[in-house]
Symmetry: C2
Subunit: 524 residues, 2 copies
């Protein structure tokens, strides 16, 4: 392999790659697509989607009470003008973003304060009324919409930033703050949110915490179990558990807040959070690389981990089928030639020229060794957003095919792409596409299959095969999306019986009447 | 203030500061001092220390069974040659490293496997025999030694490294592995443990996880809640909960492992852990700086956080009284002139000259602004160890005074030193010293008072005053040491009643007979 110096690489970039990029893919466009408002706008299509109770007939409604006039009166007095009951308004709260599940809730409550949430839950618990807490409703496993007629408690109006300590970088806010809004607020103070994901323009921080969202920069800033310093949550009983510490260290008793991180609103409803925010980097670089096979992708990851070290902030991958999907469905353009796999590398640092020197040395080494075949480096903010758009908009592109079978698995790195090739062979021409992309640095694969419409036979070919495959190599059947409604019964593929038994016991301890987000997360 | 360029600063260092350092303070010496072996060696002194049951007469023994011949037979058959009963051997397991509490256990068990631990606990649970899990016994709150006659289950022989994935940097090992041993093993593979603390030569990783140890580099690598990927633990019932995932992401159900992190062995005994290890830095720099007051210390922290950013790996402080303590009691030498406060800054990066450039720019700015008055930079590994020794050996130095009242609190940064000055005034000449040091970057103060011997009047002057003070500013009465036996009743100063109530319920759920490390962590 001919040694290609970085200068050439960069010139190549300028001359060939970005000249072709015509789309103005801005993140904001992406976010509008991801927001629930887009669902509201497309209400005319909603009638087509069958109810969850019809599509999943084996799931039985729990023995909960049903809403009476008296209940409605209570809530209307508690939350004047903040109780939604108009069917046209309810659709957006009953249907998930992917349009795969549809609940039949008759009422949405929009509290503004923790004590209002406490009043609601106390009442519902006494009345045995089931509820589903809902943030931005951008979840991918049906965890944030009702299954039957659960009352939706939306955090839409709980959007206050409570405090920011600029020295230590600790922000305290209500759970309904939108991730992007928080990040913009912090940007003005040279700080940033420690997580970022495609849905940032719609998702609520309370939902992020409740689902332990991972996202694009977990590689650098770690999981929410590390960066969330405090949580205030309301239990099913209406009791408020205030663990809203804004201290970096606190070892007094059990770390209860951890229980609310990732339990999908089944143990309590998160009302406020306290988060440790890193300094905003002064310099950001993004490179988009083409490689011949997954082995080369892994070598690229190892090389950049060593050479970019403390400035590496993302290492993402997508396959050619992902690229085809966004080219065909969203009319985006590949800035480089076609390769079986693409890698997106981002650096974030405090010193532009140091970072550039490190990145150049890495690219020179990667191309010199023949690991990376081609690539492009973003020269400005717009180009950075364009490259990120390629990766972030795949989820949106897939929806255009019709029905999307979505899997989010963790696997040992050497196995990460084997399952994709295996499934491609297994499904053959029965499906529109088999697409994979994800967080290479985290061993997290987003595996997707599409068909024109929901197809039981295809589903039967994918499941439980994919779960068994994952289980055999001790992977996780849900890396970051959670289990929600759709993956609840898959827990045993990644957790052994004693662990599940303890979870069931904890659910019963925290929510004896089972009113909090029933039919989700834990098989009871 | 005259602007002092970094070159001058460095020359100053070479000429004046390090010329005076004569001690060869190696970490290994430090660790021998901190290890339990040193307690074994000083057995002649042990007779002096009164039993915990005598010193704390208000604590009543629980209604547990007492050891019979039949029990001893059972354990000797289960663990041939691994049951200790000789009183001379038991002392080191009954007494804490600080010599402040003394249990009266008659038996130490030394299992090698998880299934042996399961057998032990199943038996003890059925017989209502209380146990205390013990790692390196380097804890500072009496959490790892018996209060009465609890059976000690030591992890000393559970010291196997199970696996290492060098690409993802994930190590899986038994809980009795010594932190330093693990770090040395990883060093050969260009990796490192994500935590470091003074006791690293003796402490066990299982103990670190069980106490959610913080240490010297939490600022950079975050808390164990983020870097521990998996835990295997044995419940009181003897059931094994295997959450020993070695995946970076796994959102299947509740994150049970979090419960064992920091619960001090009261919910289960940690038998194996899986930990995400960062790359070992290629370049490390350490600077030791003198500042005039705490305001300047905070300004230094803010400045280095901005200018050193991604390469900052520690920001520690110690006051002049700490320096006096190690000078008088350990004959260490201050490498710079006397200042009211000293700051230790460490950088860890992948590119020596980049890091040095950043550090020099920071020092130039700090001295130019008149924030930092004087300082020294370590020029080699020995000098680095010497500087770290100044900070790490304060705990050891304090023991030479006699009795050490030890506090480990988190406070909002602006309040961090106010409490020290307040207490110094309050205690006056009744005590030998009032010393403070800690993790400036984490808002974590180690506050210490010494007297020639245990003195109830002095204790009464410190407590509950210090806890009330901390509580008023929403600080934590235990930042990283845990509550153990000595701080258990202080939980209410940092946690509100609903949270404590939930903890009590969880304790009862996990350990209905209360056999696991009783009298610790949670007030029942």
């Amino acid at each position: 392999m001919k040694r290609v110096c970085t200068r050439q690489f960069r010139n190549l970039t300028r001359l060939r790659s970005f000249g072709e990029v015509r789309e103005k893919i801005s993140r904001s466009i992406n976010h509008v697509c991801l927001s629930r408002r887009s669902l509201h706008g497309s209400a005319c299509r909603l009638g087509e989607l069958e109810l969850t109770s019809v599509r999943y007939p084996h799931v039985q409604r729990g023995k909960y009470a049903t809403l009476t006039e008296k209940d409605v009166d209570f809530f209307q007095k508690l939350l004047p003008q903040r109780v939604l009951q108009d069917p046209s308004e309810l659709d957006g709260y009953n249907i998930d973003w992917m349009r795969t599940v549809r609940g039949n809730s008759q009422m949405v409550l929009r509290p503004k304060t923790t004590s209002e949430v406490a009043e609601i839950l106390k009442y519902c618990n006494e009345r045995h009324l089931a509820v589903v807490p809902q943030g931005g409703n951008t979840g991918l496993v049906g965890g944030s919409v009702p299954v039957f007629d659960e009352i939706v408690i939306s955090t839409q109006l709980m959007n206050q930033i409570i405090s920011l300590d600029e020295v230590s970088g600790i922000v305290v806010c209500q759970s309904g703050c939108i991730l992007e809004t928080l990040d913009n607020y912090l940007a003005e103070r040279e700080l940033m949110m420690p997580l970022d994901l495609g849905a940032k323009g719609s998702c609520h921080i309370g939902g992020n915490v409740s689902t332990n969202a991972g996202g694009l920069r977990l590689l650098r800033y770690g999981s929410l179990h590390g960066s969330v310093l405090g949580v205030e949550a309301v239990l099913a009983s209406g009791e408020i558990v205030d663990c809203l510490s804004s201290l970096r260290k606190d070892n007094t008793g059990y770390d209860l807040k951890q229980l609310f991180i990732g339990s999908e609103g089944t143990l309590g409803m998160v009302t406020s959070v306290s988060i440790l925010c890193p300094r905003r980097p002064k310099a950001v670089n993004v490179a988009f690389l083409g490689v011949e096979n997954f082995e080369a992708a892994l070598q690229t990851f190892q090389l950049c981990k060593g050479m970019l070290a403390e400035i590496l902030s993302a290492c993402e991958f997508m396959d050619q089928e992902s690229m085809q999907c966004i080219q065909e469905n969203l009319k985006l353009t590949n800035p480089i030639k076609s390769y079986p796999l693409y890698i997106l590398i981002e650096t974030s640092g405090s010193h532009g020229s140091h970072d550039e020197e490190k990145l150049n040395a890495f690219l020179e080494a990667a191309m010199g060794k023949g690991i990376v075949q081609d690539g492009t480096i973003a020269m400005d903010v717009t180009q950075r957003q364009n490259i990120w758009g390629l990766r972030e908009r795949i989820a949106e592109g897939l929806l255009h095919d019709g029905y999307n079978y979505k899997y989010d698995i963790s696997l040992p790195l050497p196995k990460l792409y084997e399952i994709v090739e295996d499934m491609r062979q297994r499904l053959g021409s029965k499906v529109t596409r088999v697409v994979s992309y994800g967080h290479l640095g985290d061993g997290n694969l987003h595996f997707n299959v599409t068909t024109p419409e929901y197809n039981k036979e295809v589903l039967g070919l994918i499941e439980p095969y994919i779960y068994e495959w994952t289980s055999q190599v001790r992977g996780s059947v849900s890396a970051e999306h959670g289990l929600g409604f759709k993956k609840r019964d898959c827990i045993r593929y990644s957790k052994e019986p004693n662990a599940v038994k303890m979870m069931v016991k904890m659910k019963k301890l925290f929510d004896p009447n089972g009113i909090l987000n029933p039919y989700k997360t834990i098989p009871l």
